[in-house]
Symmetry: C5
Subunit: 323 residues, 5 copies
């Protein structure tokens, strides 16, 4: 599905939609380029684009099939970049990934979106409002998109950080919870983020440090800015991974302590019942000669003795922190 | 055992089987090559091939013995590639590996298969249906085989992912299972995959980025496509390895919690029996003066008291989540 | 907010404050430079500086927003360095980070501070007292600041070391404590330090080993001295990370041992009560013919037997170390 | 002790033993070299060799003292290679290491053996039976020895693999064993293998890929074959290391589960005794008015009730899997 | 404090002590150099040396302050090497570190020692007894010192190995010990050794493989010999680190098994008492019609039954390995 298709001349949008059939004209001179946005195109839809712009069949296959790992490739002067978009769904504590596959030529940029992606329409609007930046050509568009996608990783990390904070609170709280499943699922998400974002560092580094076709030197330090933000995000993710490993171990300690405390408490109560039971057993014996049995206050005295024993044990257990 | 042996001319199969004795002719000009497929050849069978094509004795030894790690070697203009094929046997949750040992010369490709391999006959059929691709020579055949083998890794990963999902469900379910053996065996498989697939990344990288004999530049980006898929598979495998480590730890927590719950439950019931037992012991004492014993409703009153005590304890334990 | 702004000529401070409007004059010859210190400037405040000195907009954006990871960038002959300052708050056992963003040109140095930073006023005073060093230009100022910031990491490490020592003492003491939360929180801080300090090693290495604009060779070995100290701090931090992992595991062992000892103790007491209870039960049976019941000293004999049994058990348990 | 010393001319052994005093003659032309084998020589014995062949004193010191890590050094045109031989002692499940220290010059090879080594006499016999290979000079001898030593690592790995298999079977069997000590000792062996074999990879890589004195290019791919085998062994060792870590954790889970099952079983039986004990206590009370006591079939009824209670509990516990 | 100061000419010590004031003369020709040994000099003492020899102020600061990490620096033709000396204190199982800071110029070597160091006086004596070696100049002295310091690491490793052996024996012995604290403290020492020795590998590698001022090529292979020994020590240390991690985990398993055995034993005894208690309770009931009570041998029969029950349980528990 074509989302938008426009031609820009010296940074200004030419009125109306450019049609796919114009793409092949290839007569655009300096400062003119086409920006085509597609959403999950079929192989048929895309083959038209591919033919018009002379895209490499392998990259085109990827654009239609998606499910690629982030990468940057160069096919005869055309850059082909794959990256993941991410969104955090806080209620289920899962990260949803989309995919962008971008072709950048001297006079065109084709952006294929799969799944939930960042708000690319806003990027287009922002760039159209800044003709000077747009006049730098397709690389400026590429930067605009990358900057947005990487900025959109920040709320994902914030959401995960938040939930790790909640999990830590649960682990170290006094209420007997066992968030082991939640910890594990968060770790799973963190590993997913690692797999989706990690491989993008290298492409961004190449964009920001190597001379590449279609990327004017002036744009390079802009890519370095994006690279910075991405590296920060990936480092935070590594920290989270480490924290979740530790919190899993800390949780095991807490859970085991809490349960042993329960067992100890019950055992202490049983022990407190055992002694008076023994005393009662003694005076339940049927010996002929048990002088205490004949005493007038034998019974209350024994009851009192039982109470004293229990109380003494109770205070001892309390002092030991067992009850 | 010879599986198939054919000569191709400008991408078209020449009728009939080529015989081994033709191999040595070496009079093929541009665009002609032989594709020989062998299955677990004996040393005798293979020495004939080796002599006809002038293969290096060390590589030939490997081809007969198999059990090599994946590697790419170059012996005087001949590429020698070793790789593992993989198949997931879901009922036993084990990965079965086969081995391919491939010699690629300017005008021949020899494919030696050991164990269960990918469907190479299909690759041959597909390529024969695409003469243009086949006309690129032996390197195109090599790509066709590699693409298939690496594509066949995907169902292996899917099968393992699936089983990890089942294991996670078991660990976090409420029924008291202990899938520790299954987790461990999956980890063993994941380590096996790591060892079988990991060393192939470097040969594929060299095929996709370095000028190598017998590999025309036009084929190189096709190898990069295969490399991409392989790297994705190996990264997924690393994630699985990490997940299985975490799920083993999470399982320990769950198992220990579940068992402590059982113990606590039994202990709580024992504690509930201990108090009325004590009361009964008290009224079993043989003191002469125990006024309660003479009361008309002493017995039912004590029974009622016991019931109240038990009920109170029961409600307390229930509220604490112990029963 | 402007903290201080002065012009230096051959290492000597020119009287009074330099005004921002002077910055743009750019007529300073050899040995003259301006040192401008800012605290959390607004975008408006900073845009004036940026225009006067021709700073790159991306670096300027960072300077205003902060929350960057440490890095060194070069924009047309201007160095841009980001680094973290650190302070250990011992009562809460947390590390507080500030941020410095520094622009170094041929004739200026701009230092932007965010959050609690090291005592930069002292650095200025020390340098003004040493005109020879100051005469080396902005790079000498950069070194003075870096040296101070990195020296200020030492008390942070000392504080954490200290607290790890306390935690170790708690884990291996005989009093029943469980410092699992404290261990975990220290690990969290250590990971935070890793993230804040680790990325600074590379910029310092480049300052100390590569020819960079605005850094005269004579200053380079001074940066190596700072790099040394930084590497020592980061290695200590890695050791602490490892220690905390081990102490968490050791704590689990200790806690579990301590609790099992409690359980064993209670169980032993219960076992000691069980045997006399059984004896009492035996003599509470109502058989017609139980000769012991008629004995004159049956009752005291049984009591004595009970005492002997309990004492024997007690001595056995004590010898086994269970009580 | 001199094991054997022979001179070879064009691959053929010259009759008899060469004497040490011949070594220094240095008049051998092309295709003649001496192969000297020594077993744990004393410093005196070796100094004679050293002087005759002009070996470097440091290497000579190593040859006498042994206990070196594997390494390859070049002293003025002489290769000096140190490597470990390994043998698995299955009954004690330990790996025994020997050491070979080899000097390779243009016209000599000196092999010093310490401890139990591979069967070098067989290597000599094999090579003497293949004069063509031997005619390649000392490097061919070096290859023959390395090939044998590395091939001898395979049974070591097989033995360890085997024992890991036995340990896994023990961990996951239903009989209550705790092979923690065996797991740990195997891990110790695996770490020992890592230390003994790991450092040899680099020397073999240099032998197989760099031009080195005394190694003709034709021999280089033979060293690559040995390198392949060595890398396979070291990767297998890494896998084993990983497996033993996991099996240790899995064993902890199994042991803890098995013991909790025992505890639960005993507790369940105690609980089953507690309820009829309570009932007996109730009817042991001495109240005047307990109508059941007068019933004709009160006693058998109560006995039956006790049996029913026990049976019900028994079936409940059995259904819960506690007994 | 000056320990010794001597001038050497062609390897021979010139009579008497050289005075500090001679140092600055700088008229020594080929084959003459001064070897100055200092122990924890004050800033004042050292500034004299620094001025006389033209040492760099930063290195001089390090020499006085010490607490540096091992490193090698070159300041205008002067080598500056920092390294740690180590000594194992077996009773406390701690490693004590000292520090050497060495300046090597064309005609001088200055050795500053902090804390307990290796026996440098012996090194001097050995070298003075070997004038040929000493005639190689300051680099030969540097080698002599490094060789001694690194050789002195061996007993440290031996001591730690030993104590790990003792710890293993304790973990796997049948006596109920819990050496968790000792394991942890050994790990702490091993991490300390890692930090003190690890950074020295790179300086030694540079000394043994790069052309450096003041190091004649003939001495380089001697440094490689020292490097070998150092690498062996660091690898052994890594193995120990790994072993201690595993032994900590194995200890947890052993401790938990041993304690559960105790609990199981006590529980089994309690269970053995519970059944006869129940029987006694039954015959303590007050039913009018309990025929057994009237039997002549009811009482001994019940006692016998109790004994049989206990014995049966005892044999069952013994067979299960619970008692
Ligand atoms: Mg951004
Ligand atoms: Mg931005
Ligand atoms: Mg949340
Ligand atoms: Mg949430
Ligand atoms: Mg930025
Ligand atoms: Mg594919
Ligand atoms: Mg494909
Ligand atoms: Mg399945
Ligand atoms: Mg399945
Ligand atoms: Mg693809
Ligand atoms: Mg663990
Ligand atoms: Mg504190
Ligand atoms: Mg400093
Ligand atoms: Mg503190
Ligand atoms: Mg404190
Ligand atoms: Mg310093
Ligand atoms: Mg300093
Ligand atoms: Mg653990
Ligand atoms: Mg071999
Ligand atoms: Mg072989
Ligand atoms: Mg075996
Ligand atoms: Mg065995
Ligand atoms: Mg081979
Ligand atoms: Mg564990
Ligand atoms: Mg437990
Ligand atoms: Mg030495
Ligand atoms: Mg010792
Ligand atoms: Mg000791
Ligand atoms: Mg040596
Ligand atoms: Mg030596
Ligand atoms: Mg662990």
């Amino acid at each position: 599905m074509i989302v938008d298709c426009a031609e820009y001349d010296q940074g200004a949008r030419r009125p109306g939609r450019a049609s796919l059939s114009d793409l092949g004209q290839r007569e655009r001179g300096d400062g003119r380029f086409v920006w085509l946005g597609l959403f999950e195109p079929t192989a048929e839809e895309f083959s038209e684009v591919m033919d018009a712009l002379g895209l490499h069949p392998l990259a085109s296959e990827d654009a239609v099939e998606a499910h690629q790992r982030p990468k940057l490739e160069i096919y005869d002067g055309t850059l082909f970049l794959v990256l993941k978009t991410a969104r955090y769904d806080d209620p289920t504590e899962t990260v949803e990934f989309g995919e962008l596959l971008i072709f950048v030529g001297a006079d065109f940029i084709v952006v294929v979106r799969h799944g939930a992606a960042s708000a690319l329409a806003e990027v287009r609007a922002e760039l159209e409002a800044d003709p000077e930046r747009l006049a730098l050509g397709p690389a400026a568009v590429l930067h605009g998109i990358l900057d947005r996608v990487v900025d959109d990783y920040a709320p994902v990390m914030a959401g995960i950080d938040d939930d790790i904070g909640e999990v830590e609170a649960a682990v170290f709280s006094d209420t007997p919870t066992n968030p082991v499943e939640r910890i594990y699922k968060l770790k799973r998400e963190v590993l997913g983020v690692h797999r989706a974002l990690g491989p993008l560092v290298d492409p961004l580094h190449r964009l920001s440090s190597q001379p590449l076709p279609t990327v004017p030197p002036a744009v390079r330090s802009y890519f370095r800015d994006v690279e910075d933000h991405l590296v920060r995000v990936t480092e935070q993710n590594e920290t989270n991974r480490d924290l979740l490993t530790s919190v899993l171990e800390a949780n095991l300690t807490r859970v085991s302590v809490r349960q042993n405390e329960d067992m100890r408490k019950i055992s202490a109560w049983v022990a407190m019942a055992a002694v008076p039971t023994l005393v009662a057993g003694v005076y339940g014996m049927n010996f002929d000669h048990m002088p205490e049995l004949d005493w007038r206050f034998g019974y209350p005295a024994v009851l009192a003795a039982m109470a004293v024993i229990c109380l003494t044990l109770f205070r001892y257990f309390r002092r030991s922190g067992w009850i």
